[in-house]
Every structure is written in structure tokens, then in C-alpha cells.
């Protein structure tokens, strides 16, 4: 009885974390499912049970599908640049013999990740700006008269321009992580391969790549999950425009709930984001539980 009491008293250590999580993370998550089955008129305050109507409306809504496609496009480009691009880049940087240069380059590449997406987004808003922006002026200098784009103002370029900014902001972060993973590979493995006559390219494919494979897989999952949570950069640079072409699920949820005052619709979008990110998180868990590369 005494031990039981003592053990229960130990719960006090985890109590603050548990209470915070239960009230502000798990409870709202459950409430969100409830909200998504309601037709909720904010002005009259009336709430009516609507079953799956919100979901039906959602899947019939073209902006929802534009948002979803934009998230996918975001995920694809981020995997290309921030996973595979960063992996190659990290391997290049780590192949430099001077550790001082290695450190300097890693630091420079990371700096945009330290500043907020808001600052980076505003900065690129100006870089893309047709009149005073760097991009048009630089292109004008190379090929006069051919480039005069309002990069964020045209449906054809806006989404890719936003994603390009986020690659600029984020590639240094994943490069740093890959650099750490590559540093953990024992030097003997590279030396042995070099003695066998393997050049730098072959060593990358035969030594580096297999040994950072788990890390790469994990980064793909983290990156794709992150792409479905995008909000800040879109909000700052385009707010979803022009003509709803740059909405992602996050901004469309915000707009549905807090601008168009349709909480039920917003909650249904929340459920979609939840299902996608939870699926990826489960894959992540399964992935990390598997045998890790030992060395």
C-alpha cells in the first residue's frame, strides 16, 4: 500500500505535461471531429448536426483540390531539393579537406533557417516584386525585354515562386542534418573503399548512400509531413491568391473558418490534414522502430 502510494506520488512529475497536453492538444483534436459534423452559423450562433455534409461539400469544392494539389507539389519539390539535393550537397561539403571551410559553408547555408519564414517570405515578396525586385532586374540584365513577370501575381508562377522561397529558406537545415549523419560514418570505410580504387563518385554510392539511407527515408517522411502543414509562407506572400491559386490546406482551413465563418467546413479540412499527417507519422514510427544501421 505504501509503495503504491509512493509510486502514485511519482505521477506528479508528469502531471503538468499531461494536463497541458490533455487540455490544449488532445481535447481540441477530439472536438475538431465533433465540429466537423456541424453546420455552424457563427452570426446566429446556431449549431445543427449535419453528419458528413461538410465532407461532401469539401470534396466537391475545387479550391480544396487546388490546395491539396499545391501541398503535393510542395512535398514533391521539397523532397527533391531539401532531401536529395541536401544529401548531395552535404556529401560535397563533407568531401572538402578544410574543416574551416566546411564549417563556414554549413553555417552560411543554415542562416536562412534561423530567420523566420515571415522575414524570408517578406524578403522574397520584394525579390519577386515586378518593379523593384531583384529577380526581374537580374533577368533583365541577362536577357533584356524578355522577363517582366509579376511572379506572385500570376497564377502560372505564384505557387512555384512561393515553394522556391521555402527551398531557399530550408535547404541549409537538412544539409546540416545530413552533414551530421555523414560525419558519423567511420573514416575507415571511406579509406578502405579508396584503397580498393573507388573514386569519390563511387564512394558516394557505395559507402555514403547506404549508410545514410535510414536518415534519408526519415527525412522524406518528415519533409512530406511538413509540406502538408505549410501555412506561414503562403499567408505572408500571397494569402492564397491570385484567385485562390496558391491556397494550401492550412490556409484554406484558416480562410474557411475565420474569414468565411464556416467552422464546420474548416474543421473538416482539419480532419483531412489530421488523417494525412497521422498516416505519415505512423510510417515514421514504424520506420524508426526497424533495425537501424549499426556501425
Amino acid at each position: 500500500m505504501r509503495t503504491l502510494y509512493r509510486r502514485a506520488a511519482g505521477l506528479a512529475w508528469t502531471a503538468p505535461a499531461l494536463v497541458l497536453l490533455a487540455v490544449f492538444v488532445y481535447l481540441p483534436l477530439v472536438q475538431n471531429f465533433g465540429y466537423s459534423t456541424l453546420t455552424w452559423d457563427i452570426y446566429s450562433g446556431s449549431q445543427e448536426f449535419a453528419g458528413l455534409d461538410n465532407y461532401r461539400d469539401l470534396f466537391a469544392d475545387p479550391v480544396f483540390w487546388t490546395s491539396f494539389t499545391n501541398n503535393l507539389w510542395y512535398a514533391l519539390l521539397s523532397v527533391v531539393f531539401q532531401v536529395f539535393g541536401a544529401l548531395l550537397l552535404a556529401a560535397l561539403v563533407e568531401s572538402i579537406r578544410s574543416t574551416r571551410w566546411q564549417r563556414a559553408l554549413r553555417t552560411i547555408y543554415f542562416i536562412p533557417s534561423a530567420i523566420s519564414l515571415t522575414v524570408a517570405g517578406l524578403l522574397f515578396y520584394f525579390i519577386y516584386e515586378p518593379n523593384l525586385g531583384l529577380l526581374n532586374h537580374a533577368l533583365e540584365a541577362v536577357a533584356p525585354g524578355t522577363f517582366d513577370h509579376a511572379w506572385l501575381g500570376q497564377e502560372s508562377t505564384a505557387m512555384t515562386a512561393v515553394i522556391a522561397m521555402s527551398q531557399w529558406q530550408g535547404f541549409g537545415y537538412s544539409t546540416l542534418l545530413f552533414a551530421v549523419a555523414i560525419q558519423r560514418i567511420p573514416a575507415e570505410l571511406h579509406e578502405a573503399a579508396a584503397l580498393d580504387g573507388a573514386g569519390p563518385v563511387r564512394r558516394f554510392f557505395r559507402v555514403t548512400l547506404p549508410l545514410v539511407r535510414e536518415m534519408t527515408g526519415l527525412m522524406v517522411l518528415v519533409t512530406v509531413s511538413g509540406a502538408f502543414q505549410v501555412f506561414n509562407e503562403v499567408m505572408v506572400m500571397t494569402s492564397g491568391g491570385p484567385d485562390n491559386s496558391t491556397h494550401v490546406l492550412g490556409t484554406w482551413l484558416y480562410r474557411s473558418g475565420f474569414v468565411r465563418n464556416d467552422f464546420g467546413h474548416a474543421a473538416a479540412i482539419g480532419t483531412v490534414i489530421f488523417v494525412i499527417t497521422l498516416t505519415i507519422a505512423m510510417a515514421q514510427l514504424w520506420f524508426t522502430r526497424r533495425r537501424r544501421v549499426e556501425w
Binding site: 515571415t118 525579390i127 499567408m235
Partner: protein, 278 residues
């Protein structure tokens, strides 16, 4: 060296250096441009964007400061500091309980706390707004403090827990023999031993809280409780044509975290490396 690399090797090295340095320029030039634009007049800004400012005049910074940036900065500092302290302590407590105290349902509790890692803030947004409105904390400093803490406790606990697991058991036994209670053992022995990971989690949380936008934007609408990221966007919409002032504000928001990163790099890298496997 050159002879061993061969001619092709030298060419390849040259290309590699050109690429790596070119990329460094692509990263640094926009940041330099941002800083320079903070010193320009509006006319200069709309002239040749590559031109240097005619002089170093801090007028735009003064303007930005007086048009609300001082207030946003104060809020950002307050929210960042308080949420960092709250998050790191609550997480360290939880990590201690989960790793070094014999508590019932340990596995379940660990899963519940670390499971929070899987949940995205966006999903809980609508219910959270309703909740904070009904408890009267909407549009207050408290909303941000509570949310930043609640949503970051899982990640921070995860990092500290992983570190505490590896501390030797004998430490706790020695503390008990010396007559130290749980509380003393935590404060005097375990926490000091966790200093490296605590430093990492503090820095990572500061980077997060300083830059956070979604909660800050949705849960605050009065300029007296807005943080820098949200304040900058309202500076932009309010003084939309006075761009150099906006640039000055951006520099004020960016400089502290860049320095934080440069000085705490080792700990940030360590924390990130440990955390990616979440």
C-alpha cells in the same frame, strides 16, 4: 596533390567550388540586400535595386521602432522567454518522472506525452480558438504562452528523456544514500548533468517561439499583444508604400536569431541531430 587528382579531378574540384561558393552567394546576397534596403530612401529603393544606399542613416530603424516594432519586440521577448522557461522545466520534470522514478503506467504515459509530436497545430485550430474565447484568454499573452508550451512539450521532453535515459543509475542510488529526496536529486544532480541537452532545447525553443506565426496570427489581433512575425506583416499592410521601414523591421526581427544561431551553433546542431528521429 594535384598530380594524384589528375587533370579531370582538378576540373571537377573547380566546378565543385564554383557551385558551393555560388550557392553561398545565393543565400547571402538576398540577406545583404535586405540589410542595405533598410538604409535606403524610398526613391533609392525604387531606383536600381543593386545600388548601394547613399549613406548609413538609421532613420528607417527609428521609424520602424516608433511605428510599433518596439512593442512587437517586447512581446516577442516576453513570450519567448516565458514559454522557453515553462517548456523546458515542464519537459525536464516529465522526462525525470518517465526515466528515473518508478511510476505506474510508465509506458502509456510516455506514449501519451510523446504522441503529441504527431499532432499538427492546424488541426486543433478551430476548437482552440473557441476554447480561448470562452475562457477569456483569446487575444492575450497567455494564449501564446500556453500554446507554445503545450505544443512544444512533446518534442522537448523527447530530447531530454533520451538524454536522461543514458545517465547511469548509480547517480540516483548515490543521491539516495546521501539522503537526498527526489526533488533535491532532480535539482542538484540530474538537472546539472543534463546541461548540454538543456542548452540545446532552450536554443531550439527560442528559435521556434521567436519565429512562430500561425498561433501568433490567429490568437492575437491587438497590436499590444502581437509578436514580431505578425507585427511585421501589419507594418507591411499599414505602411505599404514605405518599404525601407519594413526592411528595417525585418532586420530587427532577423538579427537576434542569426546571432543566437552563430553563437549556439554547436548545441543547435546537436539538438537537431537528436531530434530528427522523432
Amino acid at each position: 596533390m594535384v598530380s594524384r587528382l589528375g587533370f579531370l579531378g582538378v576540373i571537377a574540384r573547380l566546378f565543385m567550388w564554383a557551385f558551393l561558393l555560388g550557392l553561398a552567394v545565393v543565400v547571402l546576397y538576398p540577406l545583404l540586400w535586405m540589410v542595405l534596403n533598410g538604409f535606403k530612401t524610398n526613391a533609392e529603393l525604387f531606383g536600381n535595386p543593386f545600388a548601394l544606399p547613399t549613406g548609413i542613416d538609421f532613420g528607417n530603424y527609428r521609424d520602424a521602432w516608433n511605428r510599433g516594432v518596439s512593442g512587437y519586440l517586447a512581446t516577442s521577448v516576453l513570450v519567448t522567454v516565458t514559454s522557453t522557461v515553462a517548456t523546458v522545466f515542464i519537459s525536464a520534470w516529465a522526462a525525470y518522472g518517465l526515466t528515473r522514478v518508478d511510476i505506474p503506467f510508465n509506458k502509456v504515459l510516455t506514449a501519451v506525452i510523446l504522441g503529441g509530436l504527431m499532432l499538427t497545430p492546424t488541426v486543433a485550430l478551430v476548437p482552440l480558438v473557441r476554447m480561448f474565447q470562452s475562457i477569456g484568454l483569446y487575444n492575450s499573452f497567455w494564449a501564446l504562452l500556453i500554446l507554445y508550451t503545450a505544443f512544444r512539450v512533446p518534442f522537448t521532453t523527447f530530447l531530454i528523456r533520451a538524454y536522461m535515459i543514458d545517465l547511469p543509475r548509480e547517480v540516483d542510488e548515490a543521491a539516495q544514500i546521501d539522503g537526498a529526496g527526489r526533488w533535491t536529486a532532480f535539482w542538484r544532480i540530474i538537472l546539472p548533468m543534463c546541461k548540454p541537452i538543456i542548452t540545446s532545447t532552450v536554443l531550439l525553443h527560442v528559435l521556434f517561439a521567436w519565429n512562430e506565426y500561425l498561433f501568433a496570427m490567429v490568437f492575437t489581433n491587438g497590436s499590444d499583444v502581437q509578436t514580431l512575425p505578425v507585427g511585421l506583416t501589419s507594418l507591411m499592410s499599414k505602411h505599404g508604400t514605405d518599404f525601407p521601414v519594413v526592411f528595417a523591421g525585418m532586420v530587427i526581427a532577423a538579427v537576434p536569431v542569426v546571432f543566437l544561431f552563430l553563437f549556439g551553433q554547436r548545441y543547435i546542431v546537436k539538438g537537431l541531430a537528436d531530434g530528427v528521429g522523432k
